[in-house]
Subunit: 243 residues, 2 copies
DNA sequence: TAGATTGTTAATCGATTAACAATC
DNA sequence: TAGATTGTTAATCGATTAACAATC
């Protein structure tokens, strides 16, 4: 895309940010972490790649490859020390510090998110709730819902670093723009729209309908296969039967 | 993993189910569909790969490659007819039919999902709500919450084909086992555990903490980069400065 | 015909997998 | 030492990207 840059100071930021840990690995680290914490609660002190992989739903080869990106934290012939691995993955994910989260849009989903207990134990503190409707001023999950009119002020005052958007689709992009202008660079989006953001802002999207549609695709394929509708398979079966 | 199978009838089901459309493409089709519907609502009748790609947040090359897996539905020099493409993608995703969905676990999140209006318009009908607590017997989103004791009966009676699990972690696996035994092969899991299922059952997982942890990882890397902490980069800069 | 844009090819990139040497 | 298991290598697989011939 860009021409070669001999000057070290103007290199692509990509190398700075990711420093070698593949995106696919990063996405699996939270799953390993959860499995490890669960193992620790059941009293395990050591775990092999085979056991941990089974608990996390991946292959042991993939697990070892993933962990090798963090360093050599296992012992050959023995396995991994659970507590130590928990510490190393937590550190890598940046969970040694608390992250301050704002939820924008306190409808059904926003309520559920605000009341979700799983955040606090994983290093995330919900410090602000924002909405544009009647719910402003009410107490939800111990916090008073603020007006989105004060978004910029709240973000600054509460030192928010991660925003969760749980508004209707139409409201999401304008609010996203304001969040970005207020300095937010990490957004979790539940609104059913594709947010347009400048480079350097990271958006992750959770889309309930999309997930169901992907399931429907596979479910449909199963039905078709059972009924013998799939033309490719029928043709292939004929070819193989004739040999 | 398994030895070669010369007999066509005992081949791996993988080929039957996917028939050539890559998983990565399937996961993007719902995004394209949503962008197309939005364009249609704004009166567009035709769209180029460049425009649609921008709306969907991908590159035009990727979009054209994805659509080419479905067939040749565009016109060179012109673009794609919006309505026709909506139809083709919907058909491919299996949205011509209505899918009957059960939600298991009617807590904060289950409530929000039951009340979410976006499902119905996209081919999904919530036909059953199940819980084990006090909410059983209450009306939620127009449906009476049934007891999980009757899970098998409800799944059969209501002809459920997709189940959504929104229970606490500890309850998820046993309920998943019962759903699978009752014939369910598509599950959307919001519980913070990795579900173990037999082959042929498709699970998709939505994990709020995981998403935040991935954002935290990148956010942390940004801070480190700004502060000049990244050792690799510092070392590299020295090497380059010395040349 | 000239301009626009698709559908496809080929190159590149990144992720997965299997196997095994290293080593506890 | 013998058995177990990691960390790494190399091969394979799948996804992305750029470029452009085909064609409206």
């Amino acid at each position: 895309m860009s021409p070669s840059r001999p000057n070290g100071l103007s290199r692509q930021p990509r190398n700075v940010v990711s420093r070698g840990i593949p995106e696919a690995t990063v996405a699996r680290l939270p799953v390993y972490l959860r499995a490890l914490v669960s193992l620790a609660e059941r009293g395990a002190t050591t775990v092999s790649s085979e056991e941990l992989a089974a608990a996390a739903g991946v292959t042991s080869a993939k697990l070892r490859k993933d962990l090798s990106h963090l360093g050599s934290y296992g012992t050959r012939g023995v396995g991994y020390e659970v507590e130590y691995l928990v510490y190393q993955i937590s550190r890598e994910l940046g969970l040694s510090q608390d992250w301050r989260v704002a939820i924008v849009g306190i409808g059904n989903l926003g309520h559920a998110l605000a009341n979700y207990g799983g955040f606090a134990s994983r290093g995330f503190r919900v410090v602000a709730l924002l909405d544009a409707g009647e719910v402003v001023g009410e107490k939800v999950a111990g916090l008073t819902v603020a007006s989105v009119d004060d978004l910029e002020h709240v973000v600054k005052e509460q030192e928010v670093s991660i925003a969760v958007i749980a508004t209707p689709g139409a409201a999401a992009q304008p609010l996203c723009d304001r969040l970005v202008a207020a300095g937010i660079t990490s957004i979790l989006n539940f609104a059913p729209v594709v947010l347009q953001v400048p480079e350097g802002v990271k958006v992750r999207k959770v889309d309930l309908s999309t997930e169901l549609q992907i399931l429907a695709f596979h479910e449909q394929r199963k039905s078709a296969a059972v009924l013998g509708i799939d033309a490719d398979v029928v043709a292939q079966a004929f070819v193989e039967a004739a040999q």
